[in-house]
């Protein structure tokens, strides 16, 4: 046992003050989109005509409240930026006391802005994108639900509240991925996402149970104050379970397989899942649980390993995909890997993980919506081999997409440059192997994003005959422009280390580690590696003719990447088949053993019953005899016990 002050890292203790003044509006942030979802779902067809406006309005209103709260929070002292709001007692069973409490601090403040801000832009965009869908109102209801659940997730003050949002996100993603449920592939993808997420949820549920048995509470405030007193083994177990949960939601290896299939949902959904919500939940969880991970170095190491594997895994998949959305999905997986890596690096990396999460939120939303815009113009075709030279047909989409592209590859000055660079830098400082792999990932990112860019907007026209690409309507391009601007400018958050200082009260301040190389060298190295990746793409894709059908005489690596690095096969092997075999075994056991005992037992009892009922022959004399026998039994029993 060691006291907090002696801990290896200084773990910040959460000491929130009660919400007053403007902050008492906190619940509205969740309440508004939730109300929107409820009205739209219960209102039914009556709300069809104005449902999309209501949904968008609720999201925008939630954003307005978030902005207001953020400004208020900026005005507070650094040590006073944690606020809780107690809504009501949620669960009170014996020792388990859980309040419906919200926690608003610098970390959740940033998430609120990202979720409601990018979420609102996606709502606006969807007005145009879903215009011809007969179930648009329902779509907006689900979007509202998704946003509300995600807000619950980041605003909850305890793990159980977080779990509520966590499951809400799972439900909403299921509904949205499978929104076009008439398509078999969409229904299957929704099911897949849901099932894989359940695997992660097991980790979450077990972690909460373990926290409760260890600390007697699930509150962040309470646990952050006493986590130092717990045994490291326990904390490691909690950390690994939380990581399992995070892997499910954030699509980290080995629970990554659902993310690519989730592209079956309408494109705004992909943007929402990939940029503002869902996949960031795992990163949030790890950062929020810093008071666990800081004291469980083993768990942190595992986070770093998982993150590194994932960032390469996603990048490799992204290289081989011809489906524009799947290529982007691979890139998401990879970028989330970077965030996880940052989070796994501990105090030094938390702030950069969140920083990258935000910039990624901007440029990935930008690119997904851009991809949606392209599909909109190409009759919903997603095959990049049938695109090409779209920069003239869709100038706004092209330009905004280009901004996102430059941001994600880390072109100097763009937002992604600042955020990714910082993570690579920190990784190199902490462990050079991981740092080098992260650097390699940056190069691959440069390759697959350039490939995507070239196949879509440059090279020659490979359009199908009946396709007439056109620019999307204003309601779709305006969000693109806003997001493009954010993709370019997102780096300002790092000015004067603002984001690091801002998050310091929540995640702590790192002692300065001198990186092995001067920072400017690392930066130049990163740019150089990315440049190699871009150049490779230029020579392999840009300079050649893009075949209309994917060539089959390709290397093993390409085949593997096309098959998602056999992610489904691995899942099938590790979980699917053993699970099926276990179920088969259990069913057989149930049929033979359990049913056998049961039916055998019941027929045995019935036989005895049939025998006994013969005594019930309807003759009073027999009954009287039985009574007399009973008298003897009673009297003899009494006498035998007492006089023996």
């Amino acid at each position: 046992m060691y006291s907090l002050s002696e801990a290896a890292h200084q773990v910040p203790v959460i000491e929130p003050s009660a919400a007053d003044g403007t902050f008492s509006l906190l619940w509205l942030v969740i309440g508004l989109p939730l109300l929107g979802a409820v009205v739209l779902l219960l209102g039914g067809r009556a709300t069809d005509r104005w449902g999309h406006w209501l949904g968008t309005l609720m999201s925008l209103a939630s954003f307005a409240v978030s902005l207001l709260l953020f400004v208020e929070l900026l005005g507070r002292d650094e040590g006073d930026r944690s606020i809780t709001q107690h809504l009501y007692d949620w669960i009170a069973v014996g020792d388990l006391q859980v309040g419906m409490d919200l926690l608003y601090d610098p970390l959740s403040a940033l998430f609120l802005l990202l979720i409601t801000g990018v979420g609102s832009l996606i709502h606006v965009y969807s007005i145009g994108y879903m215009e011809h869908d007969p179930r648009r109102r329902r779509f907006f209801a689900y979007l509202n639900l998704f946003v509300a659940a995600m807000l619950m997730l980041v605003l909850a003050e305890n793990y159980l509240g977080l779990f509520l949002g966590w499951e809400g996100v799972g439900l909403a993603s299921y509904l949205l991925i499978g929104f076009w449920q008439h398509k078999h592939s969409a229904a299957a993808a929704a099911k897949k996402a849901f099932v894989i997420n359940r695997v992660g949820d097991i980790g979450m549920a077990l972690a909460i149970a373990l926290l409760f048995t260890t600390f007697g509470t699930t509150s962040f405030t309470a646990i952050s104050q006493v986590s130092g007193a717990a045994e490291e083994d326990t904390l490691t177990a909690v950390g690994l379970l939380l990581l399992l949960a995070a892997c499910g939601k954030s699509a980290q290896v080995p629970l990554q397989a659902w993310l690519l299939d989730a592209m079956e949902g309408p494109t705004p959904v992909s943007a929402l899942i990939h940029a503002a919500t869902m996949v960031t939940a795992g990163v949030y969880l790890v950062v929020r649980s810093n008071f666990i991970f800081e004291l469980a170095p083993t768990a942190q190491t595992v986070v770093v390993i998982v993150a590194t594997v994932t960032l390469l895994w996603g990048a490799v998949i992204g290289c081989a995909k011809d489906d524009i959305k799947k290529a982007l999905a691979g890139s998401t997986m990879s970028q989330i890997g970077y965030m996880m890596l940052g989070a796994g690096l501990g105090v030094a990396g938390y702030a950069f993980a969140i920083f990258h999460l935000i910039t990624h939120g901007f440029f990935k939303a930008n690119m997904f919506l851009g991809a949606g815009s392209v599909m909109h113009g190409m009759n919903d075709d997603v095959d990049m081999r049938r695109y090409g030279a779209l920069r003239h047909a869709m100038p706004i989409t092209f330009l905004t997409f280009a901004m996102g592209y430059l941001a994600i590859i880390g072109f100097p000055g763009f937002s992604g440059f600042w955020s990714k660079d910082k993570i690579i830098e920190t990784a190199l400082a902490e462990n050079w192997v991981v740092g080098v792999l992260a650097l390699l990932g940056a190069g691959i990112t440069g390759f697959y994003m350039t490939r995507l860019m070239l196949m879509t907007f440059f090279t020659t026209k490979r359009w199908k005959d009946d396709v007439h690409p056109h620019e999307s309507p204003g309601v779709m391009t305006v969000p693109l422009v806003v997001l493009a601007a954010l993709s370019v400018l997102g780096g300002v958050l790092l000015l004067g280390d603002w984001i690091v200082d801002w998050l310091a009260p929540v995640v702590g301040e790192a002692p300065h580690h001198e990186p092995p190389l001067p920072i400017i060298v690392i930066t130049l190295l990163t740019v150089a590696v990315v440049a190699v990746g871009v150049a490779a793409a230029w020579f392999l894709v840009g300079k050649r003719e893009v075949p209309l059908t994917p060539p089959q005489d390709v290397s093993f690596a390409t085949r593997a990447a096309r098959a998602d690095l056999y992610g489904d096969g691995i899942n099938d092997l590790l979980v699917g088949r053993p699970g099926t075999a276990t179920v088969r075994g259990l069913v057989t056991g149930d049929r033979t053993l359990v049913d056998g005992v049961f039916t055998g037992g019941s027929s045995g009892i019935k036989a005895v019953g049939d025998l006994l009922r013969r005594l019930q022959n309807g003759f009073v004399r027999s009954y009287a005899l039985s009574v007399l026998g009973g008298v003897l039994l009673v009297v003899l029993a009494l006498l035998a016990v007492n006089l023996a």
Partner: protein, 536 residues
């Protein structure tokens, strides 16, 4: 010799006096009012009497003085022959509520096409011209209401009696009207009369044992008073044999009434033969009253000698549960199934009787076995009354369709009624979130803490067997297709007759009580524990 006027505590005895007075009034009504208005008047009279008695019971309950340092509340009334204490009042309330349900079922006329379920004229021989004539005139026996009130009076006196003679009188007062009511079925009259005669003969037989036991115990203790007997048992007058045999004989009389094995022989025949409304009333209320008396006799009079009688009760409890549960499995008639289930429940209740009695032996928050049994009686009474009420409604061209083949697919034809029946069965089976689960839990835990684990194990095993035959009915109702007859046409199936408000209200109230007590058992458990202990 001076005659001393006995003091009667009229206020505290009011519920009892109201019921018995109402019964007498009912006889007068029968004699003087014209036939046309009798039924209305009788039903109204019985309802008013029971409601008034229930109201005064509540009033008495709130007004009981504490005795024995607050462990019990109440007083000895009528020169020490009647005890009005917490358990008495609880049982009075329960019996009165169940009887109200009974009156509602008695008064039901819609399901028989405008006549009651009782014979037009009991004296008319079945199948004769006289019977047909009575039938065409639409006569009915309205005497059933005063009979019911007399039985209720006996049931209220039974658990309240403080000496053996009063107890015997109460036993007879409650039994004789029931013998008569059993024989009054409108349909299948021979079966009904046979049941009544069997019930009467065996009842008389067991009463004889009871009376003999009274004599023997008097010989041992020199008094009929329970307190005096308890005193004699503690001081051991030296004639142990007299006490033990007497105790055994008294036990036989009571165990017969509650339907414990091997005294259960009458139960299925009588439950099946009696008009179902009577069965509903009798199975629920009689058990409540008889268990009250059993508890009082064995806890108050023989409480200090419980090591003598508990092994005997163990044997009887185990035997009763096994016989009830196992034989119920092979029943194909719903009324007989419920009869055997009632036998099994007697066993479960006896398990509770074996539990710890003193408040000093209890863990914190645990109930005493008296309270557990009282609670169980409430849950069982409600479920049984309700289940038999449902049986009255499931009919085919021959009246009530009690063979279980006829119930196939009932769930699809009348989902609400079948749902109610399923709920009652689940409660009897002790499925969580129904009242029966809490009751079973209560009696099993008290017996377990008293170390009666073999009995509890048997009880659990019997419960599992019981689930089998309860759930079988649910399966038949909801998941089975009606059998196809030899001619290829589906066999006749029962349908549900729409009842009047009386029966529906009874069933609905039972459903409500079963769910509410199952989900929030607190208030009723609280009531049972507030009843406190017996006054000794």
């Amino acid at each position: 010799m001076d005659f001393v006027k006995p003091t009667i505590e009229y206020a505290e005895l009011a519920p009892l006096l109201i019921v018995l007075g109402g019964a007498c009034l009912g006889v007068v009504v029968e004699a003087f009012l014209p036939r046309a208005v009798r039924r209305t008047v009788q039903v109204a009279l019985a309802t008013v009497v029971l409601l008034a008695a229930f109201a005064t019971t509540i009033w008495v309950a709130t007004d009981l003085a504490e005795v024995a340092d607050g462990a019990a509340r109440g007083l000895l009334a009528a020169e020490g022959t009647i005890v009005v204490d917490g358990p008495t009042v609880f049982l009075w309330g329960l019996v009165l509520l169940l009887s109200l349900g009974g009156v509602a079922l008695f008064a039901e006329r819609r399901i028989e096409g405008g006549v009651s379920a009782f014979a037009g004229q009991a004296a008319a021989l079945p199948g004769t011209e006289a019977e047909r004539e009575v039938s065409t005139r639409g006569w009915e026996h309205t005497e059933v209401y005063p009979l019911l009130l007399f039985a209720v009076g006996g049931m209220m006196l039974f658990p309240a009696s403080n000496d053996l003679l009063t107890m015997f009188v109460a036993l007879e007062v409650l039994s004789l009207p029931l013998y008569l009511l059993t024989g009054l079925a409108r349909r299948r009259r021979l079966l009904s009369q046979e049941a009544a005669l069997k019930y009467f003969l065996l009842g008389a037989f067991s009463s004889g044992f009871f009376l003999y036991g009274v004599a023997l115990v008097y010989g041992f203790a020199g008094s009929m008073q329970l307190a005096a007997i308890a005193e004699a048992v503690r001081n051991d007058t030296g004639n142990q044999g007299l006490l033990l045999v007497g105790m055994g004989m008294l036990a036989v009389g009571l165990l017969f009434k509650v339907g414990a094995a091997p005294f259960q022989g009458w139960t299925p025949d009588v439950y099946q033969g009696a008009p179902t409304a009577v069965t509903a009333f009798m199975s629920a209320a009689t058990k409540v009253a008889a268990f009250g008396a059993l508890l009082r006799l064995f806890y108050v009079a023989f409480g200090s000698d419980r090591w003598s009688w508990q092994p005997m009760m163990w044997v009887i409890a185990i035997l009763t549960m096994v016989v009830g549960a196992v034989v119920a499995v092979s029943q194909t008639d719903v009324k007989r199934m419920l009869a055997y289930s009632s036998v099994a429940h007697t066993g479960f209740l006896l398990t509770g009787v074996l539990g710890v009695q003193g408040a000093g032996e209890l863990a914190d928050g645990q109930v005493t076995s008296l309270q557990a049994v009282l609670f169980y009686l409430a849950t069982y009474g409600v479920a049984t009354l309700g289940a038999f009420a449902v049986v009255t409604l499931v009919r085919d061209s021959n009246g009530e369709a009690t063979h279980f083949d006829r119930w196939a697919g009932l769930g699809r034809r009348s989902p609400w009624l079948a749902g109610a029946f399923a709920l009652y069965l689940l409660s009897m089976a002790g499925i969580p979130l129904t009242a029966g689960f809490v009751g079973k839990w209560a009696v099993f835990t008290v017996a377990m803490s008293a170390g009666a684990w073999p009995v509890v194990l048997t009880a659990i095993a019997s419960s599992i067997v019981a689930i089998f035959f309860y759930v079988r009915y649910i399966r038949i109702m909801f998941f089975a297709e009606p059998d196809v007859g030899p001619d290829g046409h589906p066999g006749e199936v029962a349908s549900v007759t729409t009842p009047s408000l009386l029966t529906s209200a009874t069933i609905a109230a039972g459903v409500l009580a079963t769910i509410v007590i199952g989900v929030v058992p607190g208030p009723v458990l609280d009531l049972a524990s507030r009843a406190g202990d017996f006054i000794r």
